[in-house]
């Protein structure tokens, strides 16, 4: 039920963003979204991984704010590195571990890591992530995990359970 509701809501939001807020458009969009939800209900397994309690929604909003802040920070970081005469880099590929179990949570974590300052996900293998780090400050798994992963993991852990 929760899965179907999320599927329906996300289809409807995309439709409203595309078509505008005219009443006739919204009614037609709602009918078509409902039909699609009923037809594809059994295939939309990815939506069952969201938690829908108030705490998860609150953490999701905080996560978006943190994500945008990290995105801006990473751009300024890259810009400062690029314009210096000798580029201050100390790169390397480090291995980190995540505690997340959900598939969607792991994808979102990998994408968040790519968009945060100085890190780029190169390969994932189950709970191991291999991350290209532009400025390696701690080489062992625990230190790198603490510095790169944990700031997102505590929010995504609540959202995806």
């Amino acid at each position: 039920m929760k899965k179907g509701f999320l599927f329906f809501i996300s289809l409807l939001i995309v439709w409203i963003l595309l078509a505008g807020t005219d009443w006739q458009e919204i009614i037609i969009g709602a009918i078509i979204s409902l039909l699609l939800t009923i037809i594809f209900f059994s295939k939309a397994t990815i939506f069952s991984e969201f938690n829908l309690n108030p705490k998860a929604i609150f953490y999701f909003l905080i996560y978006i704010i943190i994500f945008i802040w990290e995105l801006i920070k990473s751009n300024i970081d890259v810009a400062i590195r690029v314009i210096q005469p000798t580029i201050p880099i100390n790169p390397g590929i480090v291995k980190v571990k995540t505690k997340l179990k959900s598939r969607l949570g792991r994808i979102i974590l990998a994408n968040s890591i790519t968009l945060t300052p100085g890190t780029l996900t190169v390969e994932t293998n189950g709970e191991d992530y291999y991350i290209h780090w532009i400025d390696v400050t701690s080489g062992d798994i625990e230190g790198a995990t603490k510095k790169i992963v944990s700031k997102f993991e505590k929010y995504l852990g609540v959202i995806f359970g």
Binding site: L71, I72, L120
Partner: protein
């Protein structure tokens, strides 16, 4: 409002310019990918947001939000795939690199044995 939108677009283009500069200056594939991904993501977002703010009368606000969401979701995935392919194709890291855990673990050859 139009000037405000133009300013946001200008900041976005500056980030895109710095991203291009980074691709020219960085020493190896992975570092280039870093600047390429991050600068182009925020650059495109600001560019599109500037257009939607500066031209509110065109009614393209919702569509631009959808484009921004697609950029946020697809840009990191494409860079991840390119970096992974480059590593498996044997592209070496720059000599200034500190360590390479992925090479030590040698995932590709483990996969072939199965």
């Amino acid at each position: 409002m139009e000037i405000f939108g133009a300013l946001i677009t200008l900041i976005g283009s500056i980030f895109l310019l710095l991203g291009g500069l980074g691709i020219l200056r960085m020493p190896d594939v992975y570092n280039r990918m870093q600047t390429g991904t991050k600068a182009t993501t925020l650059g495109s977002i600001l560019f599109l947001a500037g257009i939607s703010v500066g031209h509110l009368e065109c009614g393209c606000f919702g569509k631009i939000i959808i484009i921004i969401l697609f950029v946020i979701f697809t840009n990191p995935i494409s860079s991840n795939t390119l970096a992974r392919a480059a590593h498996y194709a044997g592209v070496k890291l720059t000599e200034r690199s500190v360590k390479d855990d992925l090479k030590e673990d040698n995932l590709e050859n483990k996969g072939e044995k199965k």
